[in-house]
């Protein structure tokens, strides 16, 4: 089971890296979204995959009866999903705004902050 998941995570990472190497922001953004999911699956696999029951303590009992699934990776992923979703939303709006203001989504043409033909620094008085 873990091996299959490892393979799946690997595919996710490959796709994410491929998309993020693109020049176009919107593809980079899709890459970021896939990357977030790749990491979430990685954490999930890191907590070991089992068919055990959820760690719920039955009524009238103080301790868990029998083995239980690891709840912590799921808590971690929940946090990571919330964070990566909010970042994705922010970056989506930013990309749209960049497209509106700079009228391009090609990162090669985004040279407002770092002009290509910067004047030479002064060499003397």
């Amino acid at each position: 089971m873990e091996a299959w998941f490892a393979l799946l995570v690997g595919i996710f990472f490959t796709v994410a890296v491929y998309l993020m190497l693109s020049k176009f922001i919107i593809r980079v953004l899709l890459g970021v979204a896939v990357l977030g999911n790749a990491v979430n699956l990685l954490i999930f696999t890191g907590g070991r995959l089992t068919r055990d029951v959820p760690p719920v303590i039955a009524g009238g009992v103080d301790t868990l009866a029998g083995p239980a699934a690891n709840a912590l990776p799921q808590a971690l992923i929940l946090t990571a999903i919330v964070i990566s979703f909010s970042f994705f939303a922010f970056l989506l709006v930013l990309a749209w705004r960049a497209y509106e203001d700079l009228s391009t989504d090609n990162t090669d043409e985004m040279r407002v902050a770092e002009p290509v033909k910067d004047p030479m620094p002064p060499l003397g008085y």
Binding site: V32, L35, V39, I43, G60, L94, A98, T107, P121, P122
Partner: protein, 519 residues
């Protein structure tokens, strides 16, 4: 095997049963305080006139809290507080040692200076778009990152400061800023995701995320677990955060675009959070792996220094020169971490604290220069010296400090780092440190010569008065730099024991697991 409810459960095995002392609340207070002030500011979003008053008072309070926390840690050693009274490693721990407390205090001082500077720099529209709430949330993230004792929480605090920094960076939404934010945003998000990847592996290997727990379990797993891979991933992730070569190019692309006070705070705080995390992980959690990676890190450090300072020499914009000088300073800290030992680690911590003060001050100076000279290109700005002599003197002090010249604060960490590098025989690293310092002198000298000393031919220059809100923070940071340079002993002694505490974290472990703890 069901256990009947009637049998009494021994809670002391899982919970902290004693009452929490008031001093323990100090550990969590910097974060809670910043969030509370930020929330108040958001609630008062229509009363923008009140924002600066509340925020500056809040930041002054933060300095006070962090100073008390540092005093508490100096007298009592590392302090731990766990959320929900769960015993570590089950509860989320906030653990503060000397290093964390020192970084938090200097960060608060820098933020207070920024808060005061913003009174004259942030206009009404900036206030309406929420500069001050973002500033308080940024400080919550920065303080949380310095004080937490849990790796996953470190990730969460990184994200808190990252999202507030996005907000601050686009404030004003000029095309230049949007361009800068696109690069800053995507690259920093990739860096934090790498950090999360490493944390996922860390959990898979250790089954715990508590730093103290990891530090004591690492020794037993050294033969069997892929700790080198983990450490290398952390180096890449935090190196990207700290803008180390070759993953540094997002910084000079974005830091010159926002409001001056935002650049100043970013230069002072954000890259140093990366350095702090690197020190924490490399020195305390994985010291053996740091040893193994030390050559790679030293090489990256030397290249960061040289590439940074060469970039500074090639620029003609005041703020872009400073962006490259921030990168160059990061190289010195990396060199310190690579060298290790009390000299290297102490030097890196000292350099980071010095750099927080100096880089913030220099960005303030860039803002004032733009205000006086009507631009930020040193090809056109001139005669600043005659316009305001006091301001020119303060800038010169900071230029000396960033170059590592005595008697300013940059001198001592540089001496420590060069000596530490020579002690382990890395003469090339010491040479790179000295060369970077020399080139920094040229870069800042050129800046001062052109923008301050050069007079427009035939133009009559009149003296310009500056409002105290912009001059006071600059003066405070410059004088602090001078003070540290002239009388470094108390800070040096504290930093030495902070570095010793990282290298030999038994006090840290004892604070988290008082009686040896659960295994």
């Amino acid at each position: 095997m069901a256990v009947p409810t009637s049998s009494s459960v021994d809670l002391s095995a899982a919970l902290v049963l004693g009452p929490t002392t008031v001093a323990d609340w100090l550990v969590i207070l910097p974060v809670a305080w910043c969030f509370a002030i930020g929330a108040v500011l958001v609630m008062l979003r229509r009363a923008v006139g009140l924002h600066p008053i509340i925020a500056v008072a809040g930041l002054a309070g933060l300095v006070l809290i962090d100073a008390l926390l540092l005093r508490h840690v100096v007298t009592n050693g590392p302090v731990t507080m766990v959320m929900g009274r769960w015993l570590p490693p089950f509860g989320i721990a906030f653990t503060v040692d000397l290093t964390g407390a020192l970084f938090a205090l200097v960060a608060a001082i820098v933020a207070l200076a920024g808060g005061i500077f913003s009174l004259a720099d942030i206009n009404d529209s900036g206030r309406r778009y929420g500069f001050y709430p973002f500033l308080m949330l940024l400080m919550a993230g920065v303080s949380g990152a310095f004080l937490t004792g849990d790796v996953f929480n470190l990730y969460v605090w990184f994200e808190v400061l990252l999202i507030s920094s996005f907000g601050l960076l686009v404030l004003g939404s000029e095309p230049e800023q949007i361009d800068g934010t696109v690069k800053y945003g995507f690259l920093n998000l990739v860096a934090t995701t790498l950090f999360l990847v490493a944390t996922g592996y860390l959990y898979a290997v250790f089954g715990t995320l508590n730093m103290a727990d990891i530090a004591r379990k690492a020794e037993g797993l050294r033969g069997s677990a892929p700790l080198m891979t983990l450490t290398a991933l952390y180096v890449l992730a935090f190196g990207m955060k700290a803008a180390a070569f070759p993953v540094n190019f997002w910084l000079p692309a974005s830091y010159h675009t926002p409001r001056v006070v935002v650049s100043a705070l970013f230069a002072g705080l954000l890259t140093k959070v990366g350095i702090y995390a690197l020190i924490r992980v490399m020195v305390m959690l994985f010291p053996v792996e740091r040893e193994e990676l030390s050559f790679v890190m030293a090489l990256a450090g030397a290249l960061t220094m040289i590439v940074g300072v060469l970039g500074a020499l090639a620029q003609s914009d005041f703020r872009r020169i400073l962006g490259y000088l921030v990168v160059s300073g990061i190289g010195s800290m990396l060199a310190g971490i690579a060298v290790g030992g009390p000299g290297g680690i102490g030097g890196a911590i000292f350099y980071a604290l010095h750099s927080m003060l100096v880089m913030t001050g220099l960005y303030f100076a860039a803002g004032i220069a733009a205000r006086l000279g009507g631009g930020s290109s040193i090809a056109t700005v001139s005669g600043l010296y005659r316009k305001n002599v006091g301001f020119a003197a303060l800038t010169l002090m900071l230029c000396f400090a960033v170059s590592g010249l005595p008697p300013f604060s940059g001198f001592w960490p540089k001496v420590m780092l060069v000596k530490a590098a020579l002690d382990i025989g890395a003469w090339w690293l010491a040479a790179a440190l000295l060369l970077a310092g020399f080139c920094t002198v040229i870069a800042t000298g050129r800046l001062f010569l052109l923008a301050y000393w050069r007079d427009e031919a035939g133009a009559a220059v009149e003296t310009v008065r500056l409002p105290p809100a912009v001059l006071a923070p600059l003066a405070a940071l410059s004088l602090l730099t001078l003070g540290i340079g002239l009388y470094p002993e108390p800070l040096l002694a504290t930093i030495q024991s902070a570095a010793a505490g990282l290298a030999e974290p038994s006090a840290y472990l004892n604070s988290v697991f008082p009686a040896g703890g659960l295994q």
